[in-house]
Symmetry: C3
Subunit: 160 residues, 3 copies
């Protein structure tokens, strides 16, 4: 008896906005719960979703970036109505009121369901975010070729 | 004689920006006109595309959101050069000058061509946008599992 | 002996932001280097990636758009931390420090690897960006039906 091949979902997570990260992890956990094989590639602003609470940056520009766009997944602000942090606070309240999990909880669920998290090597180098400032659950830091390979075998691909 | 299976397109419409909604509906109508089976899942800011002109929100935050991000599809502003509403007005003029349909007209075309419109239950709850404030053509309000199911059967998937 | 069919990637490039264009061209060159058949459809703000350094626009609004969102691929600013041009300058420095190619170099690589570049007719008309203001390597200016056709045959589709 031939076992049925698992369907596969690959996602590039480019955005570091609270609302888009929420959508990304909601789709990822939903797919993993439906028995799909899920891979998320975090690049550019999306790398925030993998960061521990740590100050990053070595060069002047790197430190500046770490300062203005620092922090971990809890610091992500919505893409609209950010209002200098008030939007983030408001959305957290609204989500809690409806018993919707937080971003960090959703990421934990994704990890527990076997979703694979990759960091993009090139943007980690450019943005000066080394592997040791990331959560331990990051599977690997890879180049674009790895994403292409995975995407070719995927049934669903998304850029978020 | 076996009938050829229709190709299928599934789309998550996350954005509520005028230009991105325009792209989403242009792709959807184009695909439906090419005999594809098209499903659009509206979530977060994208829900605006399904709203009737109605004030939404029950809690303080929900009403605030309804106030700052209220209105229906005609209130959508471009993602760049919004200029507090001037960008919207300018793009409408430019589109009209080239006989390009408006967003509302494009949505009507999509509906007439059989494009299925779904609302995302979770973001409707969080953002306090109940089904009765949406246009009647919304097929159903569903969870992420329904999108995953549709996406798995799709030939083309997009996140907009 | 049957030759193996090349895998295919189709991409809608909607954004004209420096960072998103970078991601788009990085994926495109990576895929082409992995022997994939790659097509990029540039629409709306993404058209900037195809422009020569030329002033565009005929009507009042078109000229205004050409003024505020003018220039070629080198004028693209990041989607976050733009700071009125400082962000662009900073990212260029940071990318150069890591020997990462510039956007113009990456586009050249894509072209050399056989990536096909299409412009979206409708947004070219609306935004008043005629074909003659675009680089010679643009394969064709096409409608949405052409994208749908290509996407149906693709293994990977992305909206960036």
């Amino acid at each position: 008896m031939k076992e049925e091949k698992k369907k596969k979902l690959s996602m590039i997570v480019f955005s570091g906005d609270m609302d888009k990260l929420f959508a990304a992890f909601a789709v990822a956990t939903g797919a993993a719960a439906s028995n799909m094989d899920v891979t998320m590639f975090f690049t550019f602003w999306g790398l925030r979703a993998l960061k521990k609470k740590a100050r990053t940056g070595k060069s002047f520009f790197g430190r500046l970036l770490g300062l203005f766009y620092g922090g971990d997944i809890n610091r992500a602000s919505p893409s609209k109505m950010s209002f200098g942090g008030i939007g983030r606070w408001m959305f957290k309240k609204m989500m809690k009121a409806k018993n919707v999990p937080s971003l960090a909880e959703l990421r934990k669920m994704a990890i527990d369901l076997g979703v694979k998290l990759y960091g993009c090597q090139m943007s980690m180098a450019v943005m000066e975010i080394p592997k040791e400032t990331m959560i331990d659950e990051v599977a690997q830091c890879v180049g674009v070729a790895t994403f292409i390979e995975q995407a070719q075998q995927s049934d669903v691909t998304l850029f978020i």
